[in-house]
Symmetry: C2
Subunit: 364 residues, 2 copies
Amino acid sequence: MPSTQPPAAPAVALDLSSDVTTLTAAICDIESVSQDEAPLADAIEAALRPLTHLEVVRDGNTVVARTSLGRDERVVLAGHIDTVPLTGVPNLPTRQADGVLWGRGTVDMKGGVAVMLRVAAEVSEPDRDLTFLFYECEEIDGRFNGLARLAETSPELLAADFAVLLEPTDGAIEGGCKGTLRVDVVTTGVAAHSARPWKGHNAIHDAGAVLGRLTAYEAETITVDGLDYHEALQAVGISGGIAGNVIPDRCTVTVNYRYAPDKDTEAAFAHVRQVFDGFDVTLADAADGARPGLHLPAAQAFVEALGVPVNAKEGWTDVARFTALGVPAVNFGPGDPNLAHMDDEACPVEQYVAAEAALLRWLG
Amino acid sequence: MPSTQPPAAPAVALDLSSDVTTLTAAICDIESVSQDEAPLADAIEAALRPLTHLEVVRDGNTVVARTSLGRDERVVLAGHIDTVPLTGVPNLPTRQADGVLWGRGTVDMKGGVAVMLRVAAEVSEPDRDLTFLFYECEEIDGRFNGLARLAETSPELLAADFAVLLEPTDGAIEGGCKGTLRVDVVTTGVAAHSARPWKGHNAIHDAGAVLGRLTAYEAETITVDGLDYHEALQAVGISGGIAGNVIPDRCTVTVNYRYAPDKDTEAAFAHVRQVFDGFDVTLADAADGARPGLHLPAAQAFVEALGVPVNAKEGWTDVARFTALGVPAVNFGPGDPNLAHMDDEACPVEQYVAAEAALLRWLG
């Protein structure tokens, strides 16, 4: 259950009055690989507790801080506090050179977390009520995801009219996200000794036709609420074979369909079944995307206030979890998403400054 | 090293004066899954030791028995004494019904072993010198094979003008055997997130062209020394994929080429490279086949004495090991090879009787 008890003093203190780049570096330097976020969650909680305009709730290693000013509208700013593992020669502590901050988390997404903390500290009387969500375990299996857990156990903490997820977008606004589903396309043959293949039927050879349909497939670009989503249908795995002298009786091609948010899982699965008509197709897993919702007033106000480019989000992100809660959401944060998870993760510090300025402009 | 010391009395005694079917059942009922052949090797050795016309040598769980009558010609009769594992509900002990003997080993190849023992006991003054080879570990990795070991350590024990391998051939003579080689055909791409496949290149999709060449391939039938060998080129394995959200950068198709004994490994590999021209092809393993050698006098005499059908052997067998030693060899034994290794392994007892009679007719 969420707790409102004050925590013990954290091992490392965060100074929310420092500039956003210094704060980003300090947050990166508190290592927080998924499932090891406690020290950083402690530090965030301890930094927020003294801010009297915020009510702070701790749930596991997820921290929620909220204003309750009775405004007409409530906005969520959300960011995960975990990172993927460090590199072999650890890419921490951070180092800054030539206006670039290097190290694990500088892109995905501790710059966004720093911007959130700066806004939380600076904007004590926002014109909208604010909810800040710092959550754990975004980089691993969804069952550990702190946002998903709160959506299940305490959805009232996430209630809002609009949400901004501070995932790296290179400073643009990225709306919605594509859905994703995986299917197994299975071919079935008859096993036989490979010296006498005419006694059997080769399931791997049959999979050639599955791959043929994939290479012939022309993915669509679909415009939803004014944004272009580039669909994709790709094999992500293939396996078949029993032994080096046996004609295999089974081959499985695992196919990932990334689909525009005009479709739900059912429609997307129907499309994939149609592509592989005549084959045995089973759904392995799926997660719906999210429409960008940029026609909604709260989203329009955000776009107008920021004045930055607006693009479609190609990858699946947790904006879809907000959408599932009925909260329109967009991605906006510092850092080039192509550098996320890379060994040489790094971000120009001007992006941190610009993102902070944009949000203060919107909410100030 | 081979030993000529008498062994301790075996746990189960074999009576070589019993009829060949009874003897086959008794041999089957001494379980001898590969690498657990000691009790059966003990029983065979103990049954042969009293036969004064034979010199008996034990090497591991392989037993060699030979006449030394100074004949112009020497013939080897050879058979492995191991079986593949029993079924879950053990398909032993053997049971006989309606003239059929059921159980593990009844086809592959304890009927042949029983015929060899009957000939060893009955033919004390053969018109050719005889070598009987009862060897271990044919059903598993070749490095454990008793025949291969003797060929390496004591080739003089295998010296002969002609060899008969009593593998099941349904009562026909099967000449020579096809060679076999395996290659890995590898496609290489560029990894990327599956939401943005245009940043990478899908190696699994490229493997579609490899499978296309396999399905378009028309295998030849090649006549060697009068026998027709049906070649085959088949995928026996395929693997690719990194994670469910990653465009894979590598896919490996493992292809098995079964080739007529007019070719050696080098020629066969050249052919496969030609089929997959433009792809990365590496040789994984290979074993040359064996020409049937039916034009040789010893083989012709065997064919004439038996008066049974003569076919090409499609699978690779240990006749190739004899061929490599310069000894022409054929397969001839009771049992339908299609039932080898099957759960319902079974053989009409008349085949044991016929095989015994044929060899006695030849050697008597």
